[in-house]
């Protein structure tokens, strides 16, 4: 039995994080939750994830800062962004942040799941792709 993918959710709204955690776990992922960017970075350092699902507006360290920090370490980690609204000056749509997908709240957990599945693929892609 292969090891399930490990998904890290960074979301300050506990009930939303719980719901997504519940759904993704039900679908067979191993899921961790962090309440903000700082917690997420700590978690990643301790327990590397296969994908990151993150909110943008969070206290302490927001989604933008988290994605920047993640990209400094790993250019291939799939990132799914859930946001209330994208500010005009956000450059997250830029190529350099890929692989990255953006969804507006309210999000459909099935869409998140399908996106993660597509980004992660049935077989891990070669690290030097």
């Amino acid at each position: 039995m292969p090891e399930p993918f490990h998904i890290l959710i960074a979301e300050d709204e506990v009930l939303a994080a719980m719901a997504l955690e519940d759904f993704l776990t039900f679908r067979g992922f191993r899921v961790s939750v962090a309440a903000n960017g700082v917690e997420a970075m700590e978690r990643l350092a301790r327990d590397p994830a296969d994908a990151l699902v993150t909110d943008l507006r969070m206290p302490k360290m927001d989604g933008h800062a988290l994605i920047r920090a993640v990209r400094e370490q790993d250019n291939n980690l799939p990132v799914v962004v859930m946001t209330g609204y994208l500010t005009q000056d956000s450059d997250l749509t830029h190529e350099r942040w890929k692989p990255l997908e953006i969804f507006s709240k309210p999000v459909n957990p099935r869409t998140i799941y399908e996106t993660l599945q597509r980004m992660l693929g049935p077989v891990p892609e070669p690290q030097d792709a």
Binding site: E13, L15, A16, A19, L20, D22, F23, F26, R57, M58, P59, K60, D62, M82, G84, Y85, K105, P106, V107, N108, P109, R110
Partner: protein, 523 residues
């Protein structure tokens, strides 16, 4: 030796006076003519005198004129007797008449001297003329003044009225000016001399009487705003009362002036509304986030549950928990919507007793999350014992929100300049001694330049760039706090560690009502 009257009048031994004149007809004629003329003249003068005294009843010392009349008649009689004694030697009779004349003369002379000081004191016609002229000038000046003041009273746009304060405690309208009649629709003629109770409708009378009593008992000028139901409709007046006191310091009259500020109030409320909408605009971004959160939770849990149902793996306990969560989130959203709806309402609710702390906490709840996302921390200290204030809770909330929004702008400006900043400290404290509640909002946003400090409450004054601030927030806030009978004051403060900021202190008068009573009445 006693003589009888007959003996006394017996002049048979005497010779008539004409003998002395040797009966020379020319000398006789001279004496007789002169004496008769003098006698006739002397008899006519008293008639004239008595006639004069009779006609001039206001004459001082009229009895002196009568004395004169007697004296002159006596004098006249001696001249007639002089004629008589030319031919018949009735010298006794003549002597008696002279004696009478002597007494009358003496009495008149004595009376004249006795009266002299008082006669001298009588004003002369010239004096009277001078004083009359002076009086006429005085009257002219006073007429002119009266004309000027009545012109003021009648033509000023300010509504003026004069209330007489009677010793029995009654207040009576002495006069109201045409401006007041126009502004109120009351009839100036009908009001004159009317007690206030009779002149006005019972509600209006009781409202204005309480102010008159306050002015009379306080003995000082008062000014206030009042809303009155008048024949012209509901009007708001800014009224000033000035007491007029007598020598003993008792208030005998109240002078009142009033200005119809209904229109100004309406504009003011319009401005409050405009500023509220502006505040709403800045809140909209935050609201979008606040709404998207529960919506997201609802979507996630419903999809979650639906998926499990479709795949036949739903269990009742999990489904119930998910649906309960969904309901909770809809309630959270409903509350937000209610709040925004109430906030946007024109009147913002009626004036009522409320806890100022509640408004402050509602304001904090509205922005806390949004601000925390921007790493602005709002800390609170509250030591209020729950004394209510009077006003509109949502208006106070608007004032506090405006202070928060200014603080946040200042903090962001500090950060843009590379300085550490990011705290808003809120305190709500009761001051039992002054019966007031104090709300302090302090930020570490660098403070306000002392040069602009005096201007910050001016309408349309703003230090923010074009499009960032209307310049109305603080001026509206000032108006709201002022209407609540309170005040709002800014101070630059040093927070230590090189951090500086501004502290706004709002002081509101507490209402000394036991909290249980007003809670019941406002439940």
């Amino acid at each position: 030796m006693a003589l009888g009257l007959d003996e006394l009048l017996d002049t048979s031994g005497f010779i008539p006076h004409g003998v002395c004149l040797l009966w020379r007809p020319d000398i006789l004629a001279l004496h007789v003519g002169s004496d008769i003329l003098i006698g006739l003249s002397y008899f006519s003068i008293p008639l004239a005198l008595i006639y004069f005294v009779q006609r001039r009843r206001d004459l001082a010392f009229g009895w002196v004129a009568q004395l004169f009349a007697l004296f002159i008649v006596a004098c006249g009689s001696t001249h007639f007797l002089s004629v008589w004694t030319l031919w018949s030697a009735d010298y006794v009779v003549e002597g008696v008449v002279k004696l009478i004349t002597a007494f009358a003369s003496l009495a008149t002379a004595a009376a004249l001297w006795w009266l002299m000081p008082r006669l001298l004191a009588l004003p002369s016609p010239a004096q009277l003329e001078r004083s009359n002229a002076a009086l006429e000038r005085e009257i002219a000046v006073r007429r002119q003044m009266e004309l000027r003041y009545s012109s003021f009273f009648n033509n000023l746009a300010e509504a003026l009225f004069i209330v007489e304060v009677r010793p029995d405690g009654q207040f009576v309208y002495e006069a109201i000016n045409p401006a007041l009649a126009r502004a109120t629709g009351l009839d100036a003629e009908r009001l004159r001399g009317q007690p206030v109770d009779d002149a006005l409708s019972p509600e209006v009378a009781s409202a204005v009487l309480s102010r008159y009593v306050q002015c009379r008992d306080g003995g000082d000028s008062i000014d206030y705003e009042e809303t009155l139901s008048l024949p012209v409709g509901e009007r708001v007046f800014h009224t000033m009362l000035v007491p007029v006191k007598d020598a003993d310091g008792r208030v005998i009259q109240i002078l009142g002036s009033g200005r119809d500020v209904t229109e100004r109030k309406r504009l003011q409320e319009e401005m409050v509304q405009t500023s509220k909408l502006a505040t709403l605009g800045t809140l909209a971004a935050g609201m979008a986030h606040e709404m998207s959160q529960p919506l997201n939770v609802i979507r996630l849990w419903t999809e979650n549950t639906l998926t499990r149902l479709r795949e036949g793996v739903a269990d009742a306990a999990r489904t119930e928990r998910a649906l309960s969560l969904v309901i909770e989130q809809t309630e959270r959203m409903a509350k937000l919507i209610d709040h925004v709806r109430a906030f946007g309402r024109r009147d913002g609710g009626g004036t009522q007793l409320f806890l100022p702390g509640d408004s402050v906490h509602n304001a904090i709840d509205l922005v806390r999350h949004q601000y925390s996302l921007e790493n602005i921390e709002i800390t609170t200290t509250s030591t209020t014992s729950g004394l209510p204030v009077s006003g509109r809770p949502l208006e106070l909330e608007q004032v506090v929100l405006n202070l928060f929004s200014n603080a946040r702008d200042a903090i962001n400006a500090q950060r843009a300049a590379g300085r550490t900043s990011g705290r808003i400290m809120v305190a709500v404290v009761d001051d039992i001694d002054t019966h007031s509640t104090v709300i302090q909002v302090t930020d570490d946003g660098g403070g306000i330049a002392p040069a602009v400090l005096p201007q910050i409450f001016d309408p349309f004054f703003t230090t923010k760039e074009v499009g960032k601030g209307s310049g109305l927030g603080l001026s509206i806030g000032y108006g709201i706090i002022d209407r609540m009978g309170g005040r709002i004051e800014p101070h630059n403060i040093d927070l230590g560690g090189g951090r500086r900021g501004v502290r706004f202190t709002i002081t509101l008068p507490s209402q000394p009502v036991p909290s249980r009573d007003w809670e019941l009445s406002h439940a």
